[in-house]
Symmetry: C2
Subunit: 379 residues, 2 copies
């Protein structure tokens, strides 16, 4: 251990940090002072096989080039709009940039860079009434652990102490946690804007943690089917806790669930096997399932064998994907044509050019939320 503390060196290093610079054409310039490194790279995330190694920031890994001063840099081609996660790779080691907030969960943290989409502002913070997001801790007897949920309330909630609200349960993806839909997805601003424009019914949005480890254990890897604990927590602990704590309308007609990626698989397993609890499901960017996983005869308790019941109970069975998440896009279209072949209704919305990233899921929520609970308006 070096006992000498060189403040000048430290101050110097501090000045040599450069956050990623987003250029007007959507390209991004990365710079890093690293005179001693052999190689510096930028690795966009979400390079899973079902996503064809694609992230809106690029495909594969960027090699930065070094100048005589030891400054490494690169300017990418114009990126797809949205929030792209990436790692710095210094001499082959994946690390995070100290100039970036990181996103993720217990599994792995990554940096993020946001590329604005010209003319698109539905997820911006605007001069409209803003709802609160409350952190709610609750005890799970199933896992013997305290859990934290983020819960969005429409701006009008506190001013209408007699009014009760419908509930959307909104699930994150693998490698994320209960903060994802707010900090990356901007779900609260999307709802604020939709509600302010009367495009969505004021609703409570529950964003629970999508993992169910027992104390001392590390998190589950996304799996199919999801851990039984996640199903049981949702039905037997989360929903009763929310209905007991807040002014909800505790009725399936006023309760929906949606999720992205891992959360969409959870939504299928939880929702389709508990239709007495939900009248709408949203399946955002579900990864490809093989013929055994998605099977008209036996999957999800055999619910696809009863199309009439499913159509009657689910007023909305919404699916969406970005066209750049090709494996997912074609996998979902294939499954939906199978559902159509047995008369099961669904809605499919595609988002041109977006990948397995938050821009796809922001747009999914923006399309999905306005359709919710319209069926209750006559009641």
């Amino acid at each position: 251990m070096q006992e000498t503390f060189d403040m000048n060196k430290q101050a110097h290093m501090r000045m040599e940090k450069y956050p990623p610079m987003v250029n007007l054409d959507g390209s991004v310039t990365f710079k890093l002072k690293a005179p001693l490194a052999h190689s510096v790279q930028i690795e966009p995330l979400n390079g899973q096989p079902e996503n064809n190694g694609y992230n809106g920031l690029g495909r594969g890994i960027y090699d930065l080039t070094r100048d005589d001063s030891g400054m490494w840099s690169i300017t990418t081609p114009p990126a797809v709009p949205g929030l792209h996660t990436y790692w710095l790779v210094v001499d082959g080691v994946r690390v995070n940039d100290t100039t970036s907030k990181t996103y993720g969960s217990q599994i792995m943290q990554a940096c993020g860079v946001e590329i604005p989409e010209p003319g698109v502002n539905f997820y911006d913070i605007k001069n409209v009434p803003h709802g609160e997001v409350r952190m709610k801790w609750y005890y799970s007897k199933i896992t013997n652990m305290w859990r934290r949920a983020y819960v969005y309330f429409p701006a009008e909630y506190d001013a209408n102490p007699e009014k009760r609200y419908p509930v959307l349960i909104l699930r994150h993806g693998g490698g994320e946690d209960e903060t994802g839909w707010v900090e990356q997805g901007r779900a609260n601003f999307i709802l604020d804007n939709l509600i302010a424009e009367n495009k969505a019914v004021p609703m409570i949005v529950v964003m629970d943690w999508g993992q169910a480890p027992v104390p001392g254990m590390r998190v589950h890897i996304p799996s199919t089917p999801p851990p039984q604990e996640i199903i049981d927590i949702t039905i037997n602990e989360l929903i009763p806790m929310i209905d007991a704590s807040y002014r909800t309308i505790p009725d399936r007609e006023y309760r929906a669930m949606a999720g992205l990626s891992m959360g969409s698989v959870q939504t299928l397993y939880i929702g389709l096997q508990n239709l007495d609890y939900f009248s709408a499901l949203g399946i955002f960017s579900r990864r490809p399932m093989d013929e055994n996983e998605f099977n008209l005869e036996h999957s999800f308790g055999g619910v696809f064998q009863r199309p009439e019941e499913l159509n009657r109970k689910l007023h909305l069975f919404w699916w969406g994907a970005g066209t750049a998440e090709e494996g997912i896009y074609y996998g979902v279209k294939k499954n939906l044509s199978e559902l159509a072949s047995v008369g099961i209704n669904s809605v499919f919305v595609e988002f041109p050019g977006t990948a397995h990233e938050w821009q796809t899921w922001r747009k999914s929520l923006h399309d999905f939320a306005p359709r919710l609970f319209r069926w209750t308006e006559a009641k």
Copy 2:
């Protein structure tokens, strides 16, 4: 850009990540696979001069040693308990470990490792009623920007719709943001536990963002005096917004303010010049001030010239520091003896062995909060 995406390599790299391991004696083992790196170091943060380059994880920078497989590792000496922030330094470049959540603000993010303190659990999540932390967005006309505050409500708040509550404004330090007191400081759990044991009065705790940049500008560096905008936002925007939005008791006797480090300087400047708004101030780990900054004649609007008024209005003028943040510790003691020499009352609490870190501030809040608002109980 490499067009080939090697999943096996990626999966392999993923498995070679090791979160810091806290050993039973409080030492920490860091491991990183980096066969191509020349050097790998761990740099504890908070090495500012006023802190004597000290952080409970160590003084200076640790050099990791490499084995034949390219695995770098080190086990530190036993660390002081608490949450210690650090950077990885790979070939001279400060970066963050992808296995760690990061903490900070717009200035710079850093990793964290938590060392338990044997027998100390006042900041743990326990089987007691838990209050909510709400994210509250509000518009600042002073900076023409939306701002976010975190607001803690005692667990009983929703169940007592007629009851009003006192307010503590709690300020973070330089390089942090409105999330710090919850995500690092565990202020909500500290209050939950104190309130459950009847050791503190149920209160609302407002944790606002301590920066006041205008759009497009990067954040202020901690300065003395703080930017006038921070003073104006607190008095003219934050307090009226909180009093209008929640069931507070909008009276100076029921309003206190405290802050750590940069936030303690803001507390001095805002609080001492606005004694009609506050009846208690908490000054946690204030950095040393020179004779011009802390001056009995002219500082803070000359308030120290009126000891009788100050003593009458401030029912509690609480100061605290860890003994390991030596510059701060001795600087505060010197200033408090100056205050005593002119008859100004204060309370000083020291925390043995803790540095300019969250363990000092958790203990500060834990000592400070129970003393608050006792003077209102006769009313």
